[in-house]
Symmetry: D3
Subunit: 238 residues, 6 copies
C-alpha cells in the first residue's frame, strides 16, 4: 500500500491553473498533489548571441525553489551566489524537453524564457514543472499568433512528464516525497502527446534495477503521460 493510499498507477490530484499572475505572456500554477509550481513564459523579441542572424528562435528555462517550499528551509541560491548542480540539471532538462516539441525556425528570431518556481514541494517538482511549462508556453504562443507576430504555430506536439519508481518492490506512478525518499529506483519520463520519448532519466538509489522493472515502469509512465496530456488539453480548452 502506498503511503498516500493511491493505486500503483494513480496520479496525484492534478490542477492546472492558467493566468495565475498578470504580467507574463503565459502564467500557470500547476499542482501535482502538494507540489505546486508557478510556470511563466516570457517572450523576448531577441535571441541569445550564439543564434543571432540564424533565422530561428530559442526556448530556454530556469528553475528555482522558494527557500521554505520544503520541509526544512534550504539556503537561498541568490544569497549563496550560485545555483546548485541539481538546479542546473533540472533547468537544462526543462529547456530540452520544450525545445523537443517546438519548431524554432517557425518561432522567428525571438526567445521564450520559461521560469519554473516551486512554491511548495512534495516530490516530482521537475515533472510538474515540465507539464505546467508546456501550458504556459502554449499560452505565450497563442498570444504571438493573436498579435499576428507569427502566422502559424511552431508547436509540433505537446509534452508532459511524470516520475515512476520502484517503491518497496512495486513499480508505482508519480512518487510523492515520502515515496521518493525511500524508493529503490526513481525514473523521470518526458514524452510527447503523441507518445514519443523525449527524455528518460532513471537512477537506482539502492539496489540496481532489472530490465523487467524497467519495462513495467515504462508502461506506467506511458499511461500517466496520456492522462496528463489530456489534462493539459482540457486546461487549454482544446
Amino acid at each position: 500500500m502506498r503511503p498516500s493510499q493511491r493505486e500503483t498507477h494513480q496520479l496525484r490530484p492534478i490542477e492546472i491553473i492558467r493566468h495565475y499572475t498578470k504580467h507574463a505572456e503565459g502564467s500557470v500554477l500547476v499542482k501535482f498533489g502538494d507540489t505546486h509550481v508557478l510556470c511563466t513564459a516570457s517572450v523576448d523579441e531577441k535571441v541569445p548571441g550564439f543564434l543571432r542572424g540564424k533565422n530561428q528562435g530559442w526556448v530556454t528555462a530556469e528553475y528555482g525553489m522558494l527557500p521554505r517550499s520544503t520541509g526544512s528551509r534550504m539556503d537561498r541560491e541568490a544569497a549563496r551566489g550560485k545555483q546548485s548542480g541539481r538546479t542546473q540539471e533540472i533547468q537544462r532538462l526543462i529547456g530540452r524537453s520544450l525545445r523537443a516539441i517546438i519548431d524554432l525556425e517557425k518561432l522567428g528570431e525571438r526567445s521564450i524564457q520559461i521560469d519554473c518556481d516551486v512554491i511548495q514541494a512534495d516530490g516530482g517538482t521537475r515533472t510538474a514543472s515540465i507539464t505546467g511549462a508546456y501550458v504556459a508556453l502554449h499560452d505565450a504562443i497563442s498570444r504571438l499568433l493573436a498579435q499576428g507576430l507569427i502566422s502559424e504555430s511552431p508547436l509540433r506536439d505537446s509534452v508532459a512528464a511524470v516520475s515512476v519508481g520502484v517503491y518497496q518492490g512495486t513499480p508505482v506512478l508519480d512518487l510523492d516525497y515520502i515515496e521518493d525518499s525511500d524508493c529503490d529506483t526513481d525514473m523521470n519520463v518526458v514524452m510527447t502527446g503523441s507518445g514519443g520519448y523525449v527524455e528518460i532519466q532513471g537512477t537506482a538509489e539502492g539496489v540496481p534495477f532489472q530490465r523487467a522493472d524497467m519495462d513495467r515502469m515504462l508502461d506506467l509512465a506511458a499511461a500517466g503521460i496520456r492522462e496528463l496530456t489530456s489534462l493539459q488539453a482540457k486546461a487549454l480548452g482544446l
Copy 2:
C-alpha cells in the same frame, strides 16, 4: 485623481492569507492590491556564529522577486550569482523592522528566518513584505508557545509598513506601480502598532520636498499604519 481612482488617504484592497503553504512555521500571502508577496517564517534551533553563547535569539530576513513578477522579466539573481543592491537594502530593512518589536532574549537561543518572495509586483513590495512578515512571525511564535519551547511571547508590539509619496503635487498613501514611477517623492514608513516610528526612508525622485510635504506624508502614513495594524490583528484573530 489617482490612476486607481482611490482617495489620497485610501489603501489598496488588503488581504492577509495565513497558512498559505504547508511546511513553514508561519506562511502568509499578503496582497496590497496587485502586489502579492509570500512571507514565510522558519524556526531554526540555533543562532548565527556571532551570537553563540550570548543567551539570545535572532530574527533575519531575505527578499526576492520571481523573475516574471514584474512587467518585463528581470534576471534571476541566483543565475546572475548575486543579489542586487536593492534586494539587499530591502531585506536588511525587513530584518531591522521585525527585530524592533521582538525581545531577542525572550526568544531564546534560536533563529527565525523570514523569507519574502514577490509572486506579483505592482509597487510597494517592501511595505507589503514587512506587513505580511509580521503575521508570519506571529504564527511562528505562537507555535513555539504551543510547543512549550518558550513560555512567554517575545513580541513587544506589532509592526506594519506603508508607502506615502507626493504624486502630481498631492501627498497620497500606498502608491501603486504607476504612481511610484511618476512621483516626485517616495517615502516608506515602518511603525509599531502603538504608533512609534521604526524606520523612515524618504527619497526625492524629482524636485526636493519641503517640510510641509513631509508633515502631510507622515500624517497619511500614521493613518494607513493604524488600518494595517487592525487588519493584521483581524487576520490573527486577535
Copy 3:
C-alpha cells in the same frame, strides 16, 4: 553631556581640502572630526549602456572603507569578492543625492564617477562622503566648463548631509562613533543648499521614536546643513 563635550547642535570640526590627489578631475579630502574621506570625481566621456543615445549624462558613486580605517580591522571587500549590503546601500545613497542636484541633460553624454574612500572612520562616513563628493563634483564640472566641453553648469543647487540622533534621550547633531554605537535613533538627512529634502533615512536602534523627536531632529539637521552648505561654498571660493 556628549562624550565629545559638544553642544547638542554643534558639528564636529569640519575641513574640506580640495586638490588632495593629482590625477582626478575633482579630489577632496573631507574631515568631520576624526572621520576622513577621500572623494574623487572622474569624468568619463561616455555613458553606461542603458543611457546610450538618450542625450543625457550620468553621475554615479562607489564607496569603500580602507580595511583598517576602523577600530578593529574589517575584511577587505575586494579580497572577500563582494561588497557588503551596507556598502551598496551607502553608494546608492551618495549617487541619488548627487543626481538630485544636477541636470543630466545639460551634462551631455558623459559620466562623472564619484569614489568615496574612507581613510579613517569615526561615525558619519556617509554624510561626510556626500558633503565632500559635492565639492569634488563641482570641481569636475568647473573643469568641463573651463575646457569648453559644456557651456553652462548643470548644477542646479548644492547638496550636503548630516546625521542626527537621539542620544541618551536628547536629540543631537552629527553623531560620532561613540554616540552612534549607543543611540536610540539614528537619522541621516540629505538636503540641498536651498533647504529642500533629498533623502531622509531614520532608524530606531532601540526604542521606536515619536513624532516630537522627529520634529526636533529635523530642526537640528536643517541648521547643520546650512552650516555645511556655507563651508562648502567657502571651500569652493564662492
Copy 4:
C-alpha cells in the same frame, strides 16, 4: 555505415592503463578510441561534514576537460570562475554510479575522491570516465586493504558505462563525436558487472524515439557493458 567503419554493436578500441601518474592511490588513463580520460582516486582519511560521526565513508567525483581537449578551444572553467551545468551533471553522475557499487559503511570513515580529467575528447567522455574511474577506485581500495586500513573490500560489484544512440535510423553502440553530433537519440547507460541498471539517461536530440528503439538500444548497451566489464577485470588482473 558508421563513419568509423565499425559494426553497429562494436566498441571503439578500449585501453585501460593503470598507474599512469605516480602520486594518486589509483591512477588510470582510459581510452575509448580517441577519447582519453585520466581518472585518479585519492584517499582522504576524513569525511565531509554532513557524514561526520555516522560511521560510514564517502565517494565523490569531479570532472573537467582540458581547454583544448576538444576541436575548438573551450574556456577554462577555473578562469571563468564556475563549472558549467554540463560539468556538474557529469560529475554528479560519476559519483552516483560509483556509490551504487560500494558499501560505504565497510569503507570506514574516509573519503575517496575521484577526478576525471579529459585529456582528449572524441565523444563519450562521461562513459569513459565511469569505466576508468571504477578501475582507479579498485586500485585505491586494494591499497587500503594492503595497508590493513580495511579488512574486507567494500566493493559489491563492478560498474561500467557506455553510450548508445540512434544514428541515421540505426541503433549503434559507443558513439564517437561525429555520430554524437548528428544522432537523433543519445543514451548513456551505466550498469553493474552483474547486469543491473544503475543509471539510464536518454535524450531525443531530434525526433522523439519509440519504445522499440529503446529496447534495441538497451540490448546493445548490455552487450557493450559485458565487454567493458571483462576489459576492466583483465586490466585489474582478476
Copy 5:
C-alpha cells in the same frame, strides 16, 4: 636625461610619515615622489587555521589601489568581485618580503596584517609599499613590546625595496610612471638592511637584457636600498 631631471642613481624625494591614521597599531604614509601609499599594520591575537597550535605567528599583506589613484580611473576591485592577478602578485610579494626579516616563533601565536593602499600612483607602488610596510610593522612590534605581550623583538633585520630599470639604454634607479611606461627592463629588488637579497623580479619589457645590464642594475639597487634603510631608521628615530 631622465624626464624628472634626476641623476641615474637618484631616488625620488622620499617621505615616511608615521601615525598617519589613529586606529592601526602601525600606520605609515610613505611617499616616493608622487607615489603615496598608506601602510597599516593590524595586530590580531590569533593565527590562520593552518598555523594553529604550531607555536608561531604570521605576517601577511593585502594591497589595493584607490580607483582614481591613477591617471585614468580603474575599476574598483571590490565592485568587480575579484582582485586582479597583478594585485595578488604584489600582495604576495609584500608578505614574503616582511616574513623574510621576522622570526615568527618569537612573534608568538598572533598575526600582523599589513594593508598597503595606494592613495596616489606614479610608478613604484610595490617598492614604496614594502618600504613603508616595514616601518608600520616596526611600530606594531614596538607596541607589542611596550604592552609586554612579547619580551624580545622578533625583527631580525630591516627590509626595503626599490625598482631599477634600463631606460633609453641607461640603467636608472627608482623609475617613475613615465620611465616605467617606456623602459626596456624593469626590476624590483628587495633587500635587507644588512645587504642580503630577499626578492629579485626582473622583466624585459622590450629587448631581452644582458648580464652586464643586470650587474649595473644590481649595483644601483644596492645603493638605493642603503639610502632607504637609513631613511627608515631616521623615521623610526633609531
Copy 6:
C-alpha cells in the same frame, strides 16, 4: 649530494613529445624528470577587445594543475570558483615570456592561446611549462606558415626556462620537489636562445642570499638554458 644524485649543474632527464593530442595546433608533453606538463597552442582568428583594429596579434597563457598531480590532492580551482594567486602569477609569467620572443605585428590580427596543464608535478612546473610552450607555439606558427596565413615567421628567437637555487649551501640547477621544499633560495630564470634575459624571479625562502650566490646561480642557469635550447631545437628537427 643532491637527493636525486645529480651533479649540481645537471638537468633532470628532459623529454619533449610533440603532437601529443590531436586537436590543438601545437601540442607538446614536456617532461622535466617526474614533472609532466601538457602544453597546447590554440590559434584563434581574432584578438581581444583592447587590441582590435591595432594591426597586431596576441599571445597569452593559462596554467592549471590537475587536482592529483601533486602528493596530496589540491582543491580543483574550477570547483572553488577562482584561480589562486600562484596560478595567476605563473600564467602571467608564461605569457610574458612568450611575448618576449614574438613579433606581434607579424603574427597578424590573431591570437595564440597557450594552455599549460600539469599532469604530474615534481617541482619546476613553471619552467617546464615555458620550455614546452615554446615548442607548441613553434608548431602552431609552422602551421600558420604552411597554410599561407602568414608569410614570414614572427618568432624572433626561442625561449626556455629553468630554476636554480641554493640547496644546503650549494647552488644547484633544476630543483626537484624535495630540493625545492628545503632550499634557501629559489630562482626562476627565463632566457632566449641567444642568451638574453627575459625574466628573473628569485626568492630567499630562508636566509637572504648574497651577490656571490646570485652570480653562481646565473651561471648555472645560463648553461642549463643552453642545453634546453638545444633540446627544443632537436625536438623541432631544426
